[in-house]
């Protein structure tokens, strides 16, 4: 392998081009991968934050953001199904939010009963966590600027022309729809959204201990044939699929990530091939000296893989500040620790694939050509 590493040291410009190709590909894949993962997480964030085992929704609701109304009495009727423990309600609607300066912005209003989950944002009274603040709403810290809500709290605002007070902030609930999330209690939410007294949007079910989820889901389906019943995981997955595949948004992000892969592949292939063809006489010499095909292949692949590792590490290093910058524009972007690690096998795959044409050319060279001057 010394020949491979000496070649790398000798052909610095070409190696630099290869390394930069991998660096760009890694950056593109890492940023796009972070956007895709963040998008998937954001698409099901509200659903995943609840403690519910089962979601009941109006027939045809593809995700949380596009609900179909249900009869409110289903929340009581659900208790007749064996295994059902507690039920709670949650609603969402896009409503106008009048900022303190009088300007107006559309927001996604979410109103929920206390029972939806301990992690779910709820406008509680600061001195009594079990009491809900009347007309109190929470906004996410990422939407503070767009809602012009950076003043002293509580901040009087209007929701759908009704009085409300911003009493606090949440974090990690930045909306991917462009309409910031505003959290409130179910009662206030129903009032702000103009929901009829006999209507609701989603009913969340927590099961009794030892109840079997398949049986409870089936019982609820039988009980409410006009509604959709899913486990929380199913609804979460359904929402992710909807936003990524049916809206085309996920496809676009995935295409950009794939583009990174193929651009890297093209750049590295070109550089590795050019290097191989420039040194084709040396490969003929290796074969004439008795080198096996495996030996020749290892020289080419080792060069490409070494460039791949260097380019990948450089790409990960450069991506860290880039992702931080992108995060200021796209707050829901997520880079789990395994994602940069996953770039390495991808970069090595690029390099190995990029070497195939070069390896074929080197193996096909006639060793007898070494006798030509």
């Amino acid at each position: 392998m010394r020949l491979a590493f000496h070649n790398i040291g000798h052909e610095r410009i070409r190696v630099l081009v290869t390394v930069l190709g991998i660096t760009c590909a890694t950056m593109l894949m890492l940023v796009q991968g972070s956007i895709l993962l963040g998008f998937l997480g954001a698409a099901s964030k509200i659903i995943d934050t609840t403690d519910a085992d089962i979601w009941i929704a109006g027939r045809g609701a593809p995700c949380f953001e596009f609900p179909v109304s249900l009869e409110r009495r289903f929340a009581e009727l659900a208790h007749s199904v064996p295994g059902v423990g507690e039920t709670s309600r949650i609603l969402t609607r896009i409503v106008p939010f009048r900022k303190p300066d009088g300007d107006q912005q559309l927001v996604t209003l979410i109103g929920a009963d206390r029972g939806v989950g301990k992690r779910f944002p709820m406008p509680v009274v600061s001195l009594n966590a079990s009491a809900i603040e009347p007309e109190g709403v929470l906004i996410d810290e990422s939407s503070r600027r767009i809602l012009n809500a950076s003043g002293k709290l509580p901040l009087p605002v209007e929701l759908n022309e009704r009085r409300a007070n911003v009493i606090g902030e949440t974090s990690g609930f930045s909306s991917f729809l462009g309409t910031p999330y505003v959290f409130t209690s179910y009662q206030d939410g129903a009032r702000y959204s103009g929901l009829g007294p006999e209507e609701t949007m989603f009913i969340l079910v927590r099961m009794q201990a030892r109840a079997k989820i398949e049986e409870v889901v089936q019982g609820l389906k039988d009980r409410f044939p006009s509604a959709d019943v899913w486990t929380r995981e199913e609804f979460s997955h359904k929402a992710q699929i909807y936003w990524t595949s049916q809206t085309g948004a996920g496809g676009a992000i995935l295409t950009a990530a794939l583009l990174g892969f193929f651009i890297g592949l093209a750049v590295v292939s070109q550089a590795v091939y050019a290097t191989t063809m420039e040194n084709i006489e040396e490969f003929a010499t290796l074969k004439a000296l008795g080198a096996s095909n495996w030996f020749v292949m290892r020289v080419i692949v080792a060069q490409a893989v070494a460039c791949g590792i260097a380019g990948c590490l450089l790409g990960i290093l450069i991506s860290a500040p880039v992702i931080q910058q992108v995060k200021s524009v796209i707050p829901w972007l997520v880079t789990p620790p395994w994602l940069p690690v996953a770039m390495l096998p991808l970069a090595l795959t690029i390099c190995t694939l990029a070497s195939i044409i070069s390896v074929r050319a080197a193996l096909a060279v006639e060793p007898a050509r070494v006798f030509r001057a």
Binding site: R2, L3, H6, N7, G9, H10, E11, N279, E281, E282, T285, L286, K287, A288, L289, G290, A291, S292, F295, E366, P367, A368, V370, F371, R372, A373
Partner: protein
């Protein structure tokens, strides 16, 4: 065929498309003896390099047999042919050194290929020192003169202690002084180390160093004679 250490028997080789096929060798039979430097000479296109390629297991004849180290080359597998090539020392007109490797590593590449690097480091160094390159072990080919490059190539060819050394126009790119050094080295390989040395060259000066001269014309051997006055001629040539 008296000796199958290195020989061809009734070989013919043609090149080119069917309609414009050119015969490079036609029914050639010859064997080479250990301890002899054989000069293969003749005009351009006479088949010298083709013969050398056959002997080096780098080419397969259309007809006839090639024997290397006692094996009939056409009867052994491709992998075995590759292994046989590892037992032959090659010296090329264009040196064929690896441009990124220093002189010592250029020699060691033969050990890398054979898979015995650790045992050969000292031997590689010794060969280069013996060939007068002791102070140039770390220099890359670009930093060496033509004669020095060819001596590195010779050291590489000898690292695996091959019984057979094949040289194609080894002095064509060198000046008189460097050429003479190479001629002496290759002759000594045959005379003093009993190796089979085959040199292809146009250069008449090789005749004074060769134990045997074979002349090829139009793909056929037209002359094959031992140089009985070789030693005498050589001493007269050297003192001139």
């Amino acid at each position: 065929m008296p000796d199958k250490k290195l020989a061809v028997a009734g070989v013919s080789v043609s090149f080119g498309p069917t309609r414009a096929r050119v015969r490079a060798l036609s029914d050639v039979s010859i064997s080479f003896t250990p301890g002899e430097l054989t000069l293969v000479t003749g005009p351009s296109g006479s088949g010298k390099t083709t013969l050398l390629s056959l002997l080096g297991c780098l080419l397969t004849p259309d007809e006839g047999k090639v024997y290397v180290n006692g094996s009939e080359v056409s009867r052994v597998s491709g992998r075995e042919q590759t292994r046989l090539r590892g037992h032959i020392g090659y010296i090329f007109q264009a040196f064929r050194l690896f441009h990124s490797l220093p002189a010592l590593e250029n020699v060691m590449i033969a050990a890398d290929i054979a898979g015995g690097r650790s045992h050969c480091a000292e031997r590689a160094r010794r060969l280069l020192v013996d060939l007068g390159l002791g102070d140039k072990l770390r220099l890359k080919p670009d930093e060496l003169s033509g004669g020095e490059k060819q001596r590195v190539a010779i050291a590489r060819a000898l690292l695996s202690e091959p019984g057979i050394v094949l040289a194609d126009e080894p002095t064509a790119s060198l000046d008189f002084q460097a050429g003479q050094q190479i001629r002496e080295i290759l002759r000594n390989l045959a005379s003093e180390q009993s190796r089979t040395v085959v040199v292809v060259s146009h250069d008449d000066r090789w005749k004074h160093y060769a134990h045997r001269t074979v002349v090829l014309e139009d793909g056929c051997i037209v002359d094959d004679r031992r140089n009985t006055t070789c030693e005498r001629t050589l001493s007269a040539y050297s003192s001139a």
